[in-house]
């Protein structure tokens, strides 16, 4: 039919299709952009009961993984409790010894929402090197390993704005090396270095 002297044809139809697709694309982009703000509104509304501040991403606490410096003396390691480091190097692992290692998480208390703390441990140590995770941590599948390790959940949620230190990630703060770790008749046994990595994650609680 005619409209304003023009026949309604393929040109006008193509324009309408394009307009629909543009509209749909804009809606999709707006939805993606609104994701953090909507979540923030949701969290803050549940927490405070009112919306009295402009919407923004809820602040999470700074989680810092630390441990004390390991000192080698004559083949035995001890911890220097006066020095905090973000990693040690163990160059002399001997059979029949305990290696002191005390990783812990420092939380600065800047989290605006309650969080759960997760620890991931990755190691390729041989069977002759053993450790036990602290009793405050339990294996969990709530968070997928990010580094190929095993994830453990801390038993206590971290309340909002709570500064605290979470220690005893390893029971007894020790790795135990068996007296069969090496074999002089088989020099190649456990001759290669191995890794022991720890990671920490905070996950906001709904």
């Amino acid at each position: 039919m005619k409209k304003n002297g023009l026949r309604k044809g393929s040109g006008e139809s193509a324009s309408l299709s394009g307009r629909f697709f543009r509209t749909a694309s804009v809606l999709l982009l707006l939805s993606l952009a609104a994701t953090p703000f909507i979540r923030t509104f949701y969290a803050r509304y549940r927490q405070s009961g009112t919306l009295d501040e402009p919407a923004r991403v809820a602040r999470m606490a700074q989680a810092e993984l630390c441990e004390h410096r390991a000192v080698l003396d004559g083949g035995r390691y001890t911890l220097d409790m006066s020095t905090v480091v973000h990693g040690n190097t163990y160059d002399a692992v001997l059979p029949g010894t305990d290696i002191p290692k005390d990783p812990y998480v420092d939380l600065d208390g800047s989290n605006e929402v309650a969080c759960d703390l997760y620890i991931e441990i990755f190691t390729n140590a041989p069977d002759e090197v053993s450790y036990t995770v602290g009793t405050s941590f339990a294996p969990t599948s709530e968070v997928s390993p990010q580094h190929g390790g095993t994830v453990y959940k801390y038993s206590q949620p971290i309340p909002p704005n709570t500064q605290q230190t979470v220690g005893y990630i390893l029971r007894g703060n020790t790795l135990t090396v068996s007296d069969t770790f090496r074999d002089k008749t088989n020099p190649g046994k456990n001759a290669a270095p191995f890794r022991f990595d720890v990671y920490a994650y905070l996950l906001q609680i709904d």
Binding site: S13, L16, S17, F20, F21, T23, A24, L27, L28, S31, A34, T35, P36, I38, R39, A58, M60, A63, E64, L65, C66, E67, L72, G74, G75, R76, G87, N88, T89, Y90, D91, A92, V93, L94, P95, G96, I99, P103, A125, V143, Q146, H147, L175, D179, R182, P187, A192, P193, F194, F196, D197, V198, Y199, A200, Y201, L202, L203, Q204, I205, D206
Partner: protein
């Protein structure tokens, strides 16, 4: 009609995707990671100790060893050391005579009894204190002491004194046992600390 249906379908899919994203946004949770604690553990190497000594000639023409001590390998850990003395009569070709030299008759040994203990069960001399990595043990034969030939041997044979050293980690215990045994005791079967 097909075009109109296509537009309707496109709009419905867009709305559906938007709803899914919004739902995910409501239930998505923020996760934050810490700095990593990534460490490498290196097994200690086996050490190869060496014996340091002086070989001198006495006024009577017989030779003697003095200032004998064990040098621990530079492995990063302290060790306990023990020595074995192997004394033989040998000819110029290295052939060993059928009889052993006798202590006090063919040769004399003066050694540092304050720091070294003799175990008659296995014939070794044990240093009673740990030797630091790369360090020298207390002298087994000190300055002024001698491992010395006293008389001539069989014709064509001379006295040979070889000192062989072994070391073992000074720290560490067995997994089992009440109490667990020190590494040196478990390996050598001699508690020289008593």
């Amino acid at each position: 009609m097909p075009r109109k249906r296509m537009r309707t379908v496109a709009l419905a899919v867009s709305v559906l995707v938007c709803l899914i994203v919004l739902a995910a946004a409501v239930y998505a949770r923020y996760i934050k990671g810490s700095n990593p604690l990534e460490e490498t553990f290196t097994p200690s190497p086996y050490g190869s100790p060496s014996v340091e000594e002086e070989l001198l000639t006495d006024t009577d023409g017989f030779r003697y060893k003095t200032n004998v001590a064990v040098r621990a390998d530079d492995t990063g850990y302290a060790v306990y050391a023990r020595l074995a003395l192997v004394l033989t009569w040998r000819d110029g070709s290295g052939r060993v005579y059928g009889e052993q030299p006798y202590p006090g008759y063919d040769y004399q040994l003066e050694y540092n009894t304050a720091d070294w203990r003799y175990n008659s069960a296995d014939g070794y001399y044990y240093c009673t204190s740990p030797v630091g990595s790369g360090s020298l043990s207390p002298a087994f034969i000190g300055d002024g002491q001698k491992l010395k030939q006293l008389r001539a041997g069989p014709a064509g044979y001379t006295l040979h004194a070889e000192i062989a050293a072994q070391t073992i980690q000074a720290v560490g215990t067995t997994d089992a046992g009440t109490p667990p045994l020190p590494a040196y005791y478990h390996a050598w079967g001699f508690d020289f600390s008593n």
